[in-house]
């Protein structure tokens, strides 16, 4: 079995495809507009209605999907590197669920009215709580299966609290607001929403970047990684912090969107020689691309009510998750 490494070509291809997908998202939608009006609006020479649709509705939404996909897939790739397990992902490990629970709590008790920062900060706090918990548990449990089960537990717990809040929701508006965060959606996002999340996304990306060489070393396992000169504890902190910030910020924009963090790194890995450090950037780009396309599907499928992005992502992602899990026969005998 030869190991292939096409990282530069892959990154270039993904950037080109992402730009095309983003452009397509701006040009396609439920309001039928002729191409020439859209293109004019695109370059800033169109009529007011077309400009509004492109710049205020479609582009922010497409960018939100792209950024959220990047953040979640990057987090997934980093968690997989740290835990040495291709099934680790913010959704599966309960990080997204905990993060959206915290976001929903701020909506439920009306904290969101205090400041626009409350919701993103709460979402990040929830994500950090879950990643921190996982990082504490990870060295103690020998089997990755146990760790995934702990994640499932965290996810279920957050889900139960969320159901409780839904159960007790005071009015239908709160209810629909909360549902949005649980199902995951980028509908009606503005550029302001993205700017609010931006500092956390940048900080998270930097933290993951700092952890990258360590993820490569961790291929050998923790003891051997430490033996070749890696400060394992520090790597763990960078990844926990980075994935907490990225997932929290992603949830604050779009709510819980699952599985993109598993699919993207899984598809990318064979093309970058399975190096966990080289997986990060292409996985993030592919995650962004996948969500832009998924959101386009959600918008264009002619259903009575618009599909939620999280639902589309899960419908595509969950079967792939099962496929990866079944194919990984050695899961039980890991480590």
């Amino acid at each position: 079995m030869k190991v292939q490494n096409h990282t530069p070509t892959l990154i270039l291809t993904l950037v080109v495809l992402s730009v095309l997908a983003l452009a397509a998202s701006c040009l396609m939608g439920v309001t039928p507009l002729p191409l020439n009006r859209l293109l004019a609006a695109f370059v800033g020479a169109g009529d007011a209605q077309a400009e509004l649709i492109v710049w205020e509705i479609r582009l922010p939404r497409a960018l939100a999907a792209f950024v959220v996909g990047m953040a979640l897939a990057g987090s997934g790739a980093a968690l997989q590197g740290l835990l040495r397990n291709p099934l680790a992902e913010p959704g599966v490990l309960g990080v997204s669920a905990m993060s959206s629970l915290f976001a929903v709590i701020t909506i439920y008790w009306g904290f969101v009215q205090v400041s626009p920062w409350v919701l993103p900060l709460a979402a990040i706090a929830g994500a950090l709580l879950a990643t921190g918990l996982l990082a504490l548990v990870a060295p103690r449990v020998q089997s990755v299966v146990t760790l995934v089960l702990v994640g499932v537990g965290i996810s279920s717990l957050a889900g139960a609290f969320m159901s409780l809040l839904l159960n007790l929701a005071p009015n239908p508006f709160t209810l629909s607001d909360m549902m949005n965060w649980m199902m995951g959606s980028v509908a009606n996002r503005s550029l302001e929403d993205l700017l609010l999340a931006a500092p956390f996304l940048v900080a998270g990306a930097i933290a993951i970047g700092l952890a990258a060489p360590g993820l490569r070393a961790l291929t050998l396992g923790e003891e051997a990684a430490s033996a070749i000169g890696l400060d394992v504890g520090r790597s763990r902190i960078w990844v926990v912090l980075g994935t907490g910030l990225l997932t929290g910020a992603a949830v604050s924009v779009a709510g819980a969107v699952g599985f993109v963090g598993i699919i993207a790194p899984h598809l990318v890995r064979p093309l970058v020689g399975h190096d966990p450090a080289r997986t990060l950037l292409p996985a993030a780009l592919l995650g962004g691309l996948v969500l832009v396309v998924a959101d386009l599907i959600a918008r264009l499928v002619p259903t009575g009510q618009e599909l939620k992005l999280g639902v589309v992502a899960a419908l595509i992602g969950a079967p792939i998750f099962i496929w990866i899990a079944v194919r990984r026969r050695t899961l039980e005998s890991d480590q």
């Binding site: 190991v3 040495r84 291929t219 050998l220 033996a227 400060d231 394992v232 399975h274 966990p276």
Partner: protein, 252 residues
């Protein structure tokens, strides 16, 4: 240059794992760390490296207290191969060997020409030429053992510690590994190797450190360390020397 464990004691949850253990590994020597299962060999290695906190005693790597060194400083003094062999991802042989140069990498893990040369040298010394692009997960046990050994050699540290590098290897591959370690010692490296195979240790090691129930029995050349009475007491086996070969002949 030497690695030194001085009167080290380790107690874990009330159970003494090491009691007052002292030994030293000097440059140019291949030292075998031997002992029955549960004698404390791995604990002693980890204590020596500063990975296992000591309840009493000291560990020195090149005259520096082991616990005071960062992971990177430690890696530059001693290259350590723990027992775990499994790699999490099917990376290439070359990249797995290059991980041995991790401590020399820049902030983003970039390696220079000197590192590349060290990796090439290690690959050829472990007969891994032609295997460079193979996935580590597709290798046989013997090939994988060579990859790990090459990784340790690529570090070019003044000392090397290997914890059971011959576990699950057939006799031929075990000889190859020990011969490589012996060559490292001859070239001036201080080499400590944990072994289970007494005959193999007797054949290759310059000195034996024998542990039993957390205590050091003796540190001496093989013929003095693995005498029939000591073998009987520590391992419960009959053994005898025929010139420079140790022959084991069953349980007592």
């Amino acid at each position: 240059m030497s690695l030194k464990l001085h009167e080290a004691s380790v107690t874990l949850q009330g159970a003494p794992l090491l009691r007052d253990v002292s030994f030293e590994v000097q440059s140019g020597k291949l030292v075998g760390l031997l002992g029955p299962n549960g004698a404390g060999k791995t604990t002693a290695v980890r204590a020596l490296l500063g990975l296992q906190p000591l309840n009493a005693g000291q560990a020195y790597l090149d005259a520096q207290p082991a616990h005071s060194l960062s992971a990177k400083q430690r890696a530059l003094i001693v290259s350590y191969l723990p027992q775990a062999r499994k790699l999490a991802w099917p990376i290439s042989v070359r990249e797995a060997v290059a991980l041995g140069r991790f401590a020399y990498g820049g902030p983003m893990g970039r390696l220079g020409p000197a590192d590349a040369a060290a990796v090439e040298d290690a690959l050829s010394r472990c007969s891994l030429k032609g295997f460079e692009d193979r996935a580590v997960t597709s290798l046989s046990g013997g090939e994988l053992a060579r990859v790990h050994l090459a990784r340790a050699l690529a570090a070019q540290a003044p000392a090397l510690i290997a914890d059971e590098p011959t576990a699950a290897l057939d006799p031929g591959h075990s000889y190859d590994v020990l011969a490589a370690l012996q060559a490292q010692a001859r070239a001036g490296q201080a080499v400590l190797v944990v072994l289970h195979d007494l005959a193999l240790a007797a054949r290759f090691c310059d000195e034996i450190v024998l542990l039993n129930q957390g205590q050091r029995v003796i540190q001496a050349p093989p013929q003095e360390a693995l005498t029939p009475p000591i073998l009987a007491e520590v391992y419960g086996v009959n053994g005898s020397w025929h010139r420079d070969q140790l022959i084991l002949s069953g349980r007592i």
